[in-house]
């Protein structure tokens, strides 16, 4: 039996069984749709409301990707800065931690008030705060994880600080950075949704979170589920794309990215 085939089929079978059980339960128990719609109804709603929901998804996706890009650029730059100056790392890292552990729902209202005229920017900042820490933490760790002997070898050959960074520390840090990015991808989406929730339903082009809130108020559970489904699919897609990218970039040498049979 092919291992990769099993890896694909087993979770799929579990999913299908779950959906089947769900549909059966809803029908047998005659659960009203405003409590729990069956999967068929959700699929139907997704088909019907698809175009309008996709528009909202695009809004959320734009915030998510912009936040992830900002997290990659600023997080990576901050990590490189940290690796070049230990005092800087010691003085700034605690604040990165504080930013990370403070619940975003608690500070999102502040940010939205401060940036009241720029809705996109305020949502972007919220999502970025959630997303940037794993990249900073992982990349910093990676930059400081260079093989001791290789560091000595670079010293022996009189390598400059820039050469050591370029040819040793950055390649060493790449797998760590990619792991951080994969975590951040999911977090950026969560951050974007949370920020939209806090921002409420106002505005013209609303994101998926607002549609979920709206559907909840109106007890339109099938639409709520359809929006949730889109959100989950988006999260999975982001993760899959980043995993694929990771494999493309380091698959030829790093253990984490090798297929088991290799």
């Amino acid at each position: 039996m092919n291992g990769r085939f099993v890896k694909f089929v087993a979770p799929l079978a579990v999913g299908l069984l779950f959906i089947l059980g769900w549909e059966v339960l809803v029908r047998l128990e005659r659960i009203p749709t405003y409590v729990l719609p069956g999967p068929l109804l959700v699929a139907e709603t997704l088909w019907r409301d698809g175009p309008s929901l996709l528009g909202s998804l695009l809004v959320t996706l734009r915030i998510t990707l912009a936040a992830l890009a900002a997290a990659v650029v600023l997080g990576g730059a901050l990590a490189i800065l940290f690796s070049q100056s230990r005092p800087l790392e010691i003085s700034l890292f605690p604040y990165a931690v504080i930013l990370q552990v403070t619940p975003i729902v608690a500070i999102a209202p502040l940010i939205i008030i401060w940036l009241k005229d720029q809705v996109f920017l305020s949502l972007l900042v919220c999502a970025w705060i959630v997303a940037f820490f794993p990249i900073v933490a992982n990349t910093t760790l990676g930059l400081n994880s260079a093989d001791r002997n290789l560091v000595d070898l670079f010293r022996l050959y009189g390598a400059s600080r820039w050469q050591t960074l370029r040819y040793l520390r950055l390649p060493t840090a790449l797998p760590y950075f990619l792991t951080g990015t994969r975590i951040s991808g999911g977090l950026a989406l969560i951050g974007a949704v949370v920020a939209e929730f806090v921002a409420g339903t106002g505005g013209t082009d609303t994101g998926l979170a607002s549609r979920i809130l709206e559907a909840g108020y109106r007890l339109e559970m099938p639409r709520l589920f359809a929006a949730l489904l889109l959100l989950a699919a988006t999260g999975i897609t982001i993760f899959a794309v980043l995993s694929w990218l990771s494999r493309r970039l380091i698959g030829h040498w790093h253990e984490s990215a090798l297929w088991p049979e290799e």
Binding site: Y157, L174, W253
Partner: protein, 254 residues
């Protein structure tokens, strides 16, 4: 011919001592002059400070007493170092790994391609240029590591128990290849090992060290003629030398 080429020391140690911050005294009162073109082994049990001494010679670790006198000329650019592990960059191909010292010296790849090709060939690595370290066996990785140390055409080659982790067959092969290259290129070699057999087979001179703190116990010239090959490993005068040195070591440890 190689041995008598020059009698000037390429490097000299005067009263070298090393005490670690933990308070452990690793080395004490080491005086040593290494002649250009010689193959010197630092032989001793683990913990005798021989690796620390090698790092002091390389300039990677500062001594806490004494001084290191290097021969005139810029030795730092003409130094090769081989670690106990191959210490290759896993993200880089064999070719890129061997190119590293030249890249750090600012040499463009085109200008040194011929030299890299030649170095790889001399270590039996032709055809593996585009392989990644993880695709190679332990012995092949060590060959790449040695190629990287040799590609700068070093005056002084420092090896820190490079073959300790390899199987016997591979180790013997690499011993012979190393000797062959040494005879062709006339670099000076300082070779750290804890194997009596390996040090006698390779060296023109063996420095016996004892631990806690690391001191020089004996300075032994090995007058077996070069070239040395597989047949020597079974020769009576070789085993006799090994027996004598093992005896000295055992005496010192008792």
């Amino acid at each position: 011919m190689t041995q008598g080429r020059s009698s000037a020391p390429i490097i000299a140690l005067e009263g070298i001592g090393k005490r670690f911050r933990s308070g452990v005294e690793a080395l004490a009162g080491i005086d040593l002059a290494i002649k250009a073109g010689s193959f010197v082994s630092l032989l001793g049990p683990s913990g005798c400070g021989k690796s620390t001494l090698l790092r002091i010679i390389a300039g990677l670790v500062p001594p806490t007493a004494g001084r290191v006198v290097r021969a005139a000329g810029d030795l730092s650019q003409r130094l090769g170092f081989v670690f106990q592990e191959p210490t290759l960059m896993p993200w880089a191909t064999v070719w890129q790994n061997v190119y590293l010292p030249l890249r750090l010296a600012g040499r463009p790849p085109k200008a040194v391609a011929a030299r890299i090709t030649e170095t790889l060939a001399s270590l039996g690595l032709s055809g593996f240029e585009q392989a990644y370290p993880r695709e190679l066996s332990g012995g092949m990785r060590m060959r790449v590591s040695i190629a990287r140390a040799l590609v700068t055409d070093p005056l002084l080659l420092l090896l820190d128990e490079p073959f300790a982790a390899l199987d016997e067959f591979t180790r013997f092969r690499l011993n012979e290849d190393l000797l062959r290259l040494w005879q062709r290129h006339h670099w000076t070699v300082v070779f750290v090992t804890h194997s009596v057999f390996e040090s006698v087979f390779l060296s023109s001179r063996i420095l016996l060290m004892t631990p806690r703190p690391g001191r020089m116990l004996a300075d032994l010239p090995i007058d077996l003629p070069y070239p040395r090959d597989e047949a020597l490993r079974m020769a009576p005068h070789y085993t006799e030398q090994c027996r004598r040195i093992s005896g000295l070591l055992r005496e010192a440890m008792a």
